[in-house]
Symmetry: D2
Subunit: 284 residues, 4 copies
């Protein structure tokens, strides 16, 4: 069987669900998963389906065309069709902290995270030994004020060369260029070590400590041009008290960062996230 995942987003109107399910049925598809959501404030409709077709006669390319003509245009949809069995190609950007990198590679290793990882890009050479131990190509692209433009061009070149589908910033400490954000809109996932919108920017653990909060968090989000303001995919928290030093905040925070980032990567990989109005709809 050929299995595909369909994501749909458009203005809400009557008959969308029936039209889509009917269309798939007429194309001899069997729907194995369907979920939808209507945002009644924005009047936006979201739907996610998984379907299977007989492999002998199915062509994803042909199906996409017919879908576009019959359904997509009719409801003026934003839509995506994915081969459910193909693993997306994910690039990792990392700086000097290794905890998120190790966590991702370990889950990739055990096939818990179902992606291909064609390359790792870093602005430092420090973590190359980790990439080597997992047999993944490592590219050290230093970034300074003067070389910022060339660095970005090199990054884009490598990403295209390796047919990268999406990017994870695993505690990558450089600002991402607008060009890259544009090419990979809603496809760059960052982990910020605070519970956004609290403590954006640098040294959030220090700020959290000074504010005397009783809870710290981590947030995974898609990167937009506004730092730490992109659509939130997943967040989680842990409790702290006066007995914890900033070092304790950092250590507890690292465990949070790993788990929140890995949850976001899994959701994106399984095509369970849709973005609209700077927010996400996350299907279960």
């Amino acid at each position: 069987m050929k299995r595909i995942t369909i994501l749909i987003n458009c203005k809400d109107s009557k008959g969308i669900i029936a039209s889509v399910t009917n269309f798939i049925h007429q194309q001899s598809g069997n729907i194995t998963y369907i979920d939808q959501h209507v945002d009644r404030v924005d009047d936006m409709f979201f739907m996610r389906l998984e379907c299977e077709f007989s492999a002998k006669v199915f062509s994803l390319k042909v199906f996409k065309n017919i879908f576009s003509e019959v359904i997509g245009k009719k409801f003026e949809m934003n839509w995506q069709l994915h081969d459910s069995d193909s693993k997306p190609k994910m690039a990792i950007f990392v700086s000097k902290y290794e905890h998120c990198l190790y966590d991702i590679l370990s889950r990739y290793s055990s096939n818990e995270l179902e992606v291909e990882i064609p390359l790792i890009i870093s602005n430092h050479p420090n973590l190359e030994h980790i990439a080597k131990s997992f047999n993944i190509p490592y590219f050290c692209i230093k970034v300074t004020k003067d070389t910022k433009q060339q660095a970005e061009d090199e990054q884009l070149r490598l990403l295209k060369e390796h047919s990268i589908d999406f990017i994870v910033l695993a505690r990558y400490m450089q600002i991402i260029s607008p060009k890259l954000i544009e090419v990979y809109k809603d496809k760059i996932i960052n982990i910020h070590h605070s519970f956004l919108p609290a403590f954006p920017g640098a040294k959030p653990y220090h700020s959290a400590y000074e504010r005397g909060v009783k809870i710290i968090g981590a947030t995974s989000h898609y990167v937009t041009e506004d730092l730490d303001e992109g659509p939130i995919i997943e967040q989680d928290i842990t409790r702290v008290s006066h007995t914890h030093t900033i070092k304790d905040f950092i250590l507890k925070g690292r465990d949070l960062e790993k788990i929140v980032l890995s949850r976001a990567l899994k959701l994106h990989t399984k095509r369970k996230v849709m973005v609209s109005n700077n927010k996400t709809v996350v299907f279960t």
Copy 2:
């Protein structure tokens, strides 16, 4: 518009989703909500839909018949159809603890819990003043070894007289009779003051204290013939430590009981829960 909620459960097979959506479309209905789940271990299919029809021409009775003939029998479904705008009639059973009763009545009062409460039944007279202050009929039916049978008959009689749809045991301390469980299968919601299956039965806070757990919980479930073993609807926990006495466990536990029970009642009221194989599917 006439709005209805449909719950479907049957053996999984090809074409269920398309058949159902197509059927509704042909009946001139508009689907506003659809979600489904397949349990691949048991091979069971679950679906929940909300649809709207033109009020002028729609008859729930007629629709039920056609649905049964065309869809229900075809897939050998267990199915339910509800008028989305009708409030279910809920009876409250209570003994001497008032915290859950107050919490329920307070949410009912503000219309957060969208039910009708035709009566409150208790085996003690203590809480009658609360029922009075909310203008709800209160029936004190004492239960002793000798009078158990009559008490149950009287309960059933009152429930039928008031057309009760479901029952909440708000810390009701008597065992429910098999007869009542049978009549109200998957329609009696209990709150047990532990995180099941840990500490079933009496005095769970005392047992939790003795075991030295670091977490206590509360569980809301449908009542079956086996005490505390029915399908779980909702659970939640709170952390405890050596600094907490049994009295502290009880106080913290009460806050949990109120919130876990109210979540379960809301889910049941909105027809978001389905039962199969002693477990629940809870739609969001």
Copy 3:
């Protein structure tokens, strides 16, 4: 036995603990609880003790004098001595939302919250019936731009007349005057319906909804001159998703507000909170 609670705060130095415990021993006191904390960033020492003395010979007034002379001045301490068995007098300020008020009064009623409540002050008449049903004096003091000064004077007068020890703002929607904050420094507890420092000010649930957070929270803190920026006593969170509307945020948030506020009130009542550098040390 006469039981007292001692709270100490000063610059850290050698020998504080031994000096204090020795002093109490020499005064024929028995220490039943001791806990301390050193903030190594600020170099600040905090300690909380509970002691008992023979009631026949003990005078709290005399003990305070000796303590001040022998210990307090030696280490330049900020210190508090309380009669452990005396219930503090708490005033409630409320506007039109009743959920926190009901929750507080219900816990006070069952003696879970061990305070006296001499009065309730409100800027609206709406909730007077609740105060009446608990037999508590209710004072409606309207506040407008023109009458702000008189309103505050009247509030202060009533608070002094009733010997109020601390104040809880149970969703009181007026800004507290600097004068009141000064008189009741670290003795006015507010509940803010967000996870501070995220979403301070008005309509935090609306802001949280627009930001698309996956977690909302509530924060209890001491009121300072800077709105929502005072020392945090307690916080907690609950998860939300795209399936929740602003109305759902508000309903879930109310349950959080009640529990977070009640925890903070219990901690303050039991003299378990100390304030330093705009943060709290919360003893367990």
Copy 4:
């Protein structure tokens, strides 16, 4: 400075705190941390202190003798004195699952877990490469019904030879012998992949799945002769729903196991845990 940690446990009585603090003061020690707890049900007193002494004149051996004579015997105490700056020697027992092993070794590597790890013992050869990459001696000791006794003798011999202070069972799947439990009473830490006392024994995720719980957990505890019934050190939970398969339970559970076990190891390493009546007192 020489820093020591003192743990005390005895029947509660008047004057313990003053006696101990006075004694330390007289020995020219400075108390930098003190916390205590009284279990009023069992009438048991617990205290933890950290003190510093001038290194030139301090002898831990001598101090232990004096402490025993002056304080220990007076109150019939169970007591422990530790050199705060010495790292305990921890042995790891592992079978074939690597996730807890990797997590421990990674935290050890970054010095987050402040222990020495002289050896790893396993009943399988599979994970030897991991031990090698961290330069830790690996001993494969197979265990069958016939060789059980010799295997245990060999384990004990190796543990003694390496002066092991405590043992972590990082998903070690063999039952620990009574002899080993006796030698290392309250010094063998296990991670059980359920929220005890729910689902003890084998395949807890399968049992949790069948029960239809909405929450799964992990528990770290000291090993006693009764399987999964020893004193609980730490527990934590994560939410599950009908959308999760057993495989999902296992994956989510693994993240929990790692974090719960690491928290327990850190608490034990820092000498923050005391055991009494099959429960733990965990100081913060």
